[in-house]
Symmetry: C2
Subunit: 354 residues, 2 copies
Amino acid sequence: VVESGVILQDLTLRLAQDGLFFPPDPQSFFGATLGGAIAENAGGPSCLKYGVTKQYIQGLEVVLPTGEVVRLGGTNRGAAAGYDLLHLFIGSEGTLGVVTGAELRLRPIPPERRTVVAAYTSVEMAGESVSKVFEGGIVPCKIELLDNWVINSMEDLMHLGLPRHAEALLLFEMDGSLESVEMEEEKIVDIINRHGALEVRMANEPDEANKYWLARRAGFASIVGRAKNVLTEDVTVPVPNLPILIRRCKEIAGRYDVQIAILGHAGDGNLHPSILTDMRDRDLYDRSIKAMDDLVEAALKLDGVLSGEHGIGLEKRRFIKTAVGAPVVDIMQKVKGLFDPHNILNPGKIWDGP
Amino acid sequence: VVESGVILQDLTLRLAQDGLFFPPDPQSFFGATLGGAIAENAGGPSCLKYGVTKQYIQGLEVVLPTGEVVRLGGTNRGAAAGYDLLHLFIGSEGTLGVVTGAELRLRPIPPERRTVVAAYTSVEMAGESVSKVFEGGIVPCKIELLDNWVINSMEDLMHLGLPRHAEALLLFEMDGSLESVEMEEEKIVDIINRHGALEVRMANEPDEANKYWLARRAGFASIVGRAKNVLTEDVTVPVPNLPILIRRCKEIAGRYDVQIAILGHAGDGNLHPSILTDMRDRDLYDRSIKAMDDLVEAALKLDGVLSGEHGIGLEKRRFIKTAVGAPVVDIMQKVKGLFDPHNILNPGKIWDGP
């Protein structure tokens, strides 16, 4: 049982000594705790291949509002008996109980890892390339999408020689045995070359590859510094609808005259369009909120989901009824009432506060 | 959305036309419905590699006791919003609602498939071989264990030329790409040859391999015809404890003078020791019940779980408190009360009847 307060990065370093890893790798990796990853059912770039936190939690130690400490799931006695309360807790955003420890399901670190970088003259074209890679029967470990603004920010920070005029960049990572990684790399390079990539790079040395991934993380983070406030969405659509969602983002940005940086986990259709705004500029902020609403609506219309990996929290409470329907909301609220009748756990999250 | 009443075998044939499959393959495959597999979170031989039903259900259509029809999960809007009621329903044995349809997460049928058959002079030795295969870093698709009685029953039915004096048989199946399957086959044959196998066979032709798997299914089923009544257990222990559990089965059989046929999904430590009994023979039946109790207790002591894949139902109600603890039972009963306050859904299952 691992204590829930451990930071994901520290956990990763600790596990690496035994040749193991815990796959979830959210952007908040350097600061997020294991308990936080469980509360949000965190994903990250590699959830494309490895799935989300839920798949890597075998059991939980939970403190209930009554003060009782219970174990849910676990490899030991009783794991499979009765109702699945384990999964009910994962992703419950701290509203049902306090997770204090977790039994993890770990994976061996794959022996080989490769990175392919592809630049495009349009974001839609990059989105289409992603679909083509899947049609080719390949599931890389990660496929990240970054737009022109993030490319320039990466370039400013790391001087990688990326084409600053490119409208989009795709970062692919493949992992596994040497044979399978080489085969996947060859196929991906072939597919993206045939689908309009402006420039393709293969980063086969770990140091070189790490530079791109570090730059991506930094570029991603630098959005926050670009504006006074940033509204980052977490919408997810089926991969074939990704190019349409990207087009919608641009239409919405035009409609409300706001700037939207587009980046995200293209491989599973999870986009984080980020609206650059300023809460003190009433007019701009109003337009930004409207743009955000339209964005969520556009994603839902494209068979998308409200939240790919960051839960409901405060901002999305008003969308939950639309998303799951009133009868299901009713059940969920009853479940909340059952565990936490006095609403003392993370009050106001998911459900309207008292 | 697939209707829940479809028989698993029919579903498999239907999906195969598109080159896809739904991995759960319980022994009841020819008669079980998809809804039944969902209610029990069914496994089967190939859950060793592919996992259980829970991993292949994306969404559910459920009728609640109020008559309301709700959708839980799903690839469409709202899948990730709020609490995970989808997993709460899977494995709830029909006690929370009636599943009428499911959105499945399917897999492409692997291009290649191989079978290796290994006979042993002792069941414990076979159990040890299983551990050694895992230590060698191989996860076959299936590893089935059959004891002398089942071997003879398979031989009577199918005339495969199996050694009738062997105390145990292991059936391995590997699937995947040609390269990976060949590599796994070679490694497994090497490992079992070095760990006391009496005889090793490689069934590389599909027809030949199918004969063994058909014989296994028939042998498994023929236990039911061997005695007036059969008490089949579903205990699961960590794989390294499997040889000890098998020894305990034999001790218990001796202690109560009952016959126990041993067979199961050795690869994930899920054993189905089957006590051959007769309900009309009061004395024999009493001893059989006691043997069953001891068996469950032995499994729990070996860090095992109550039920690998067949749920709680009626027979295991009295064990659930020991397995998950009183506070968790209390929560589960409240969850039951929340969904089904009048106890009209599968009354008496999991929880004591009214």
